[in-house]
């Protein structure tokens, strides 16, 4: 019987911890004022995350220099550890040069 009691105690502790996590998660979600983020973006037009301010391709990936030399491999963690967090904006790079082969 004591084995069941140990299991029940452990399960209860885990259940209480899970409940605590749910309550805490709700509280944190409520505390984050998403209006503040929306308000800033409306004022400035900038929705890029401020995870790093060292490189433009990290601070403003959507507006980074598409043709700059550092665009070749910015996500390398050797160059900048924060490259692990933000990828280069390949999606947004325009084709600035069209090429045609004629024979």
């Amino acid at each position: 019987m004591s084995r069941f009691r140990v299991l029940a105690t452990l399960s209860l502790a885990l259940g209480l911890a899970t409940l605590g996590v749910f309550i805490d998660a709700n509280r944190r979600r409520g505390a984050i004022d998403s209006q503040a983020i929306g308000s800033f973006v409306r004022r400035t037009g900038s929705a890029d995350l401020a995870l790093s301010s060292t490189s433009r391709w990290l601070r403003h990936p959507s507006l980074a220099e598409p043709g700059a030399a550092c665009q070749d491999g910015p996500p390398c963690i050797d160059t900048e550890p924060a490259g692990m967090a933000i990828d280069e904006a390949r999606e947004l790079l325009p084709s600035t040069l069209s090429i045609r082969v004629m024979r």
Binding site: A17, V21, V41, T44, L49, A50, L51, L58, D87, E91
Partner: protein
Amino acid sequence: MRALLHYALGSASRRGPKNLAIALGLAFTVALIGSGIFITESLRAVHQRAIQEAPSLLLERLEGGRPALIPVDAAIPFRAMLGVRDVKPRVWGYTFLGAAEGNIVVFGEANRDAEHVTVGPGLARLLGLRIGDRLALSTASYAHVYRVDQLLPASAALVAHDAVIVSEDEARLLLNIPAGMATDIAIDVFPPEEIGAVSAQISELEPTLRIVDQESMSRLYTLTFDARGGMLLLLYLPCLAALLLLAWDRFSGLSTEERREIGVLKAVGWSTENVLAVRMIESLLVALFGTAFGLLAAYVHVFVFEAPLFSRLLFGWSTLHAPLTLAPSTDIATLLALIAIVVVPFVSISAIPAWRAATIDPDRAMRGD
């Protein structure tokens, strides 16, 4: 079933230290993987919130492959386009701030007086600013003293940490942007279904402009977080594999005492299925408690302590970076997927050793052969 569970609990407690070591290893692995998932999901949610308010289109002029200033007048033809609700030439840029040893982003705001400045939470904290303080900003060619009229709240730090907002004219002077020029042009389109059509019209009218649309930005960040989250998961897969190997070794290596115990059970009438069930229940208990503890540890690591193990990686060399004050945004499906990728292989690899143990000949097992 009750008897099997009772016996499995006894068996687990008899091998307490070994099971505890495996459960802790499992918890550590789950905590690392879970932390990565919690961070990427929360950052994704913040960006999704931010992108909803972003301009539909941003237009940049490129010169030599680099963004160049764009004449404010270039915005005029776009105002008449069908679906365009607002066209706003933006004046913004970076400037190095010695005191912070990092770059700050200066935004110019139209219809704002020249004497006031709004400061982001990072800079405000660094300089200990309060509303009403005077703040002198100077460049090689211009200097001005502003009064702080607003401090952006800490809850906006993930987008506004290093921001300074002044009037448009002041931003021009601080960033050395001539009158009549802008950094880029922001265009609001309504309804959103028209964004593609407006973008195509602009591209036809001004083929040299780089057009960044809201949808592409959203997709860019989604891909980034997917890729980076996947990369983190890949980094921890060897950790998980090592743990599974350890568990395999633990479950397959039966001691003489364990073999004798199984032999006695079978001799008193336990079936192979019963012995198998006991072993599976034991490994399932270890897996469930280890995983649950790991998820709790990941939650505390990311949301209570702001992910100290990951933040150096995320922020790189940056000196002025936002605190990782995140709100949990992980859905139940993701959590269940995480539990599945850890618990299912863990219980599965214990099945074969459990089957081998369950099919031991009782006579030979009791004699210790």
